[in-house]
Amino acid sequence: MNPTYQPKTWLGQQANRFAPGLFFIGLVLLWELICRFGNVPNYILPSPSAIFIAFFDVEFSRWLTHLWATLRVALMGFALSILIALPLSIGMMRSELMNRVLYPALIVIQSTPVVAVAPLIIVLLGTDDPSRVLITCLITFFPLVVSTTTGMLETPPEMIELSQSLRAPRYRETWQIRIPYAIPHIFSGLRVSITLAIIGAVVAEFVAAEEGLGYFIQFSTSFFKIPQAFAGLIFLSVISLLLFKSIQWIQAWLFPWSLPKKK
């Protein structure tokens, strides 16, 4: 992999190959050692083994309930974002006026901390799913709009000339040329958005919820069940990672041509 350093022995090659994993394992071991021999109390920083045990202290069905609650809000917010972002991007790409009017508004929404707005949204829409979905949507749709609009605007002028030379209707220029061209951009936006969706769902649960991993972490912390809170946190990271990966899988499955070329 590394062009300058080539390990000679078999062991060296294996170590080189699994370096990222080994680094991670080393980190966890170090953490365990610090907690064991530094006498760090569990309610300050639980050791990895304590977190592992705490994971099984919670019933599996309860994990599933919390997991599903968070995933449901994150995915609904994410889906709503896509539904809003695509028409908005098309509008901003097609109309210079719309771009000029909407862009500052989007910047204002994006630069307002969602955590600060979340309680206000709860007051406005109540403590159920709609508020949580809206909070998630607010945090996820900006990167989508920006990446989709950028991709469509970056369509090479020759491709647009091809469309013009055929006197094709504008909507086909959008659907058959600009949107396909923007696919790689759209997917980089989706990858950013899906991880933000989990953040949005957790923020919403911090403000108002009776279930979900964010709620679980907050609840555990307030009862000093720190190892349990950590177990919830690890669950969250794993879900984020899996969602991120599944966006990549979907892209590879539906649009293999849009991936960067190997070799």
Binding site: M159, L162, S163, S165, L166, Q176, P180, F255
Partner: protein, 267 residues
């Protein structure tokens, strides 16, 4: 209409430019990009335009294509002023300009899909025939990036032929290719042109390519692009690699080279 074109073909030009000039900036002090271009292109004639970079060759092509309306003079196709792109004019773009998300066959059919929303089985048959004619049958289901640059541009030519245009505009179509591929695809183009006779306007900055392919060559000056000469290429057809070695070929390329390097002194 079709008959009309055929009978008048010897008298009237397919493409006609009269005192054509253009500036992108309408202010009076703004510079002209091209100026005073007069050119008639007749039925099944192959006319090349050569000139230094930025001399407005591509601007000229865009005006014939109806993608750009000249600010001065008039461009007409079949005796009608060009006000918008026409179905009987096909364009081959620089660097093939294929859509990377479509297979080769779907790229060839794209003009129909894009213009009308769909295509019929007989259109598909025609696309397959064109692909076969260009020796691309076995690549029909491949994606464009699986093809070499030369093959990609052959697909670009086939796509321009799909709507069976009378006039084919080619905008430096081989400029992205390496020298060997370039020579070969020049012969490929002549072969395709022989099987599908078209009126061709071919923009290039390669002098030898212009001489090898065309019947007449319009030599343009630096910006603002004006006509330096209109050269009759009296080399016999069919042309081959033998043509390149003939003394007349060298004479013609030298003549043009003289214009390009010393634009104010006639060679």
């Amino acid at each position: 209409m079709e008959d009309n074109k055929m009978t008048d073909s010897n008298k009237s030009a397919y493409v006609s430019m009269k005192k054509v000039g253009h500036k992108f900036d309408p202010r009076p002090e703004a510079p002209m990009v091209v100026q005073d271009i007069d050119l008639d292109i007749h039925r099944h004639e192959f006319v090349a335009v050569v000139g230094p970079s930025g001399c407005g060759k591509s601007t000229l092509l865009r005006m014939v294509a109806g993608l750009l309306i000249p600010s001065h003079g008039e461009v007409s196709v079949f005796n009608r002023p060009v006000t918008e792109p026409r179905d009987d004019v096909g364009i081959v773009f620089q660097k093939a300009n294929l859509l990377p998300w479509l297979t080769v066959r779907k790229n060839v059919l794209f003009p129909l899909k894009h213009k009308y929303g769909s295509y019929s089985p007989s259109d598909e048959k025609r696309a397959n025939e064109l692909l076969e004619m260009a020796g691309l049958t076995q690549f029909a289901d491949k994606m464009p990036d699986e093809l070499s640059g030369g093959m990609q541009q052959r697909v670009g030519i086939v796509r321009a032929l799909l709507l069976n245009p009378d006039i084919l505009l080619m905008d430096e179509p081989f400029s992205a290719l390496d020298a060997l591929t370039r020579e070969q695809i020049g012969f490929d183009l002549l072969d395709i042109w022989k099987k599908n006779p078209k009126t061709v306007l071919f923009i290039t900055h390669s002098i030898s390519e212009a001489v090898l392919l065309s019947d007449r060559i319009l030599v343009m000056s630096k910006r603002p692009g004006t006509v330096l000469d209109l050269i009759e290429v009296d080399l016999p057809r069919p042309r081959s690699s033998q043509t390149i070695n003939s003394p007349r070929f060298a004479e013609l390329t030298d003549l043009i080279r003289g214009y390009i390097y010393e634009p104010n002194v006639p060679a």
